[in-house]
């Protein structure tokens, strides 16, 4: 096994690997990519989330404000997508036409009578959202929307938005993005909202057209803790109003604990956890370590234990919510403040990349 690893890291395609070795760490392949077929993929994304993360700043995003408003006011479901084969950002119109035809055809399957005209016609549109990608390597975000007329509407009523989804990649791991073969576009995070049957139709169309796979993206305990810490860190700039956490403890019957903390107290606690790095200049981006997040959560749990004699580490963290957004363990997320969209999506892109099977 060691020999195979050593020989493959020297293959010519991994000439990029030579550059990376400047940090004197050696990258190894995943088990699956030890097979010859996938050896061109080279590198897997890491096995765990980043331990150092930049403290979030409010960005002035140069995104179409309509799209931003759409993103901010809804609660979204998360999924991960494997890289798309031969996806061209220039051909979005023809993709949208295909998608509309596909959705209409699937809806009409099984109906004996031809539906007249486009009475319930679905019209899909795909647009590129400019300005959301942070790094140079990220492919542009794509927004898919499906409009349709409600059932009992007059002929000249405008169509309503019934389903929308975003395919995005924000600050994706550059080595992974470089290691993909030429035809593949990596947009690992799929954020969608709408009726379940439409979601499955869109997913099956994308799977068929671009030869990729979808899967549910659940947020692990560490990701939820990171979100709690990152949102707390933003309290200096925009008031988070509360930090509410929902824990489930395994007892019979299961006990649900809602732990709500006042923003000033949690800000002081966060400050005392980070007292080491407070001396930085105001303009510098500060880094948050995983240990700081862990000790922040540990102090919250021990405070709870001191009052209620219940140890929260016996349970599972299900939901974290602040005024800036809320995230649930089963992959539902709501971003309420448009300024921190980029940071949250960066974290979610990493989770999606980790969960992807390739």
């Amino acid at each position: 096994m060691e020999q195979t690893n050593a020989s493959v890291t020297r293959t010519p395609l991994d000439s990029v690997a030579v550059k990376r070795k400047s940090k004197s760490r050696s990258y190894r392949q995943s088990y699956r990519s030890c097979l010859g077929v996938a050896s061109r993929l080279g590198l897997t994304p890491a096995r765990r989330l980043t331990t150092n993360r930049k403290a979030p700043e409010s960005h002035n995003i140069t995104v179409n404000p309509e799209h931003l408003a759409l993103l901010v006011k809804n609660e979204w479901q998360l999924a991960y997508v494997t890289p798309l084969h031969q996806f061209r950002h220039t051909q979005l119109r023809s993709y949208a036409r295909h998608l509309s035809a596909f959705v209409v055809a699937e809806k009409q399957q099984g109906l004996a009578v031809e539906v007249s005209g486009l009475q319930n016609g679905f019209k899909a549109s795909m647009t590129v959202v400019q300005g959301m990608s942070e790094a140079d390597d990220d492919p542009e975000t794509v927004l898919i929307q499906i409009h349709s007329k409600p059932l009992f509407s007059r002929p000249d009523d405008p169509q309503k938005l019934v389903w929308s989804g975003w395919l995005t990649c924000i600050n994706g791991n550059p080595e992974y993005l470089h290691s993909l073969p030429k035809d593949f576009t990596c947009l690992p995070l799929f954020v969608y909202k709408g009726a379940e049957n439409l979601s499955s139709l869109v997913k099956s169309w994308v799977q068929r057209t671009f030869d990729c796979c979808f899967g549910p993206l659940e947020l692990s305990q560490t990701s939820l803790q990171w979100l709690a810490a990152l949102w707390t860190n933003c309290h200096a700039e925009s008031n988070i109003q509360h930090l509410r956490m929902l824990w489930t403890l395994p007892s019979a019957p299961p006990l649900q604990v809602t732990y709500a903390v006042d923003p000033h107290d949690v800000w002081e606690l966060w400050g005392s956890v980070r007292k080491g790095s407070w001396g930085d200049g105001a303009g510098e981006a500060r880094w948050i370590d995983l240990e700081e997040v862990a000790s922040f959560m540990q102090s919250l749990k021990s405070h709870f234990y001191r009052h209620f004699k219940l140890d929260l580490s016996a349970g599972i963290l299900n939901q974290v919510s602040t005024a800036l957004g809320s995230a649930r363990f089963n992959g539902r997320i709501k971003i309420s403040n448009s300024a921190y969209v980029i940071t949250t999506l960066t974290l979610l892109t990493e989770c999606a990349l980790l969960k992807m099977p390739i």
Binding site: A46, S220, A314
Partner: protein
């Protein structure tokens, strides 16, 4: 300090004693029900929530100590780690085993499983993964434990626990130190 010692008593004829340590006390009952049905070997199952055990002179010699850890709960992992110090070092020559449930649960961060793997690899102990939601899963887990228990109790000829532990001990995957996105 009351260390549990492996060789302080004589073994019984055709008997094996196993100690199941679990903080949440769920899987150990189900495993115990399956383990005691074994014939012809007489298996005695003792259950504990954590170590150290209270002083008990009538306790027979324990052949295998199994730590059952539920990965979704951090407390379970912590308590198993804390219990390790109450075992005599003689146990770590093949008489300790880790059994993990819920390893594939989505809420488990990968760091926890990696930390557990490192712990098991540093102690040279086997790491077994069990599925505790179905009776077939529990029976499968019990069978695997029985294989190790029979060797630890000395019932299998030509093999000792130390020899077996060389084959079954947990090894770290080669990319466990792979750095994260940076």
């Amino acid at each position: 300090m009351s260390l549990l010692k492996p060789f302080s008593k004589l073994p019984g004829l055709n008997t094996a004693n196993i100690l199941l340590v679990e903080n949440q006390e769920q899987l150990q009952h189900m495993l115990a029900d399956v383990l005691v049905k074994e014939t012809p070997l007489t298996v005695t199952v003792r259950l504990a929530k954590s170590l150290p055990l209270p002083v008990d002179e009538s306790r027979p010699r324990i052949d295998l100590v199994v730590f059952i850890i539920n990965l979704t709960s951090e407390l379970s992992f912590q308590s198993a780690e804390d219990s390790l110090k109450y075992l005599d070092p003689g146990y770590f020559l093949g008489k300790v085993c880790f059994m993990v449930t819920n390893a594939r649960h989505a809420s488990v961060p990968t760091e926890r499983l990696d930390a557990l793997r490192r712990l098991a690899a540093s102690l040279h102990c086997p790491l077994l993964f069990a599925e505790d939601q179905t009776p077939e899963g529990v029976i499968g887990a019990a069978e695997r434990l029985l294989t190790i228990l029979k060797v630890s109790a000395g019932v299998v000829p030509m093999t000792t626990a130390l020899y077996l532990s060389n084959l079954t001990r947990c090894t770290l995957p080669p990319d466990i130190d792979q750095p994260s996105f940076d």
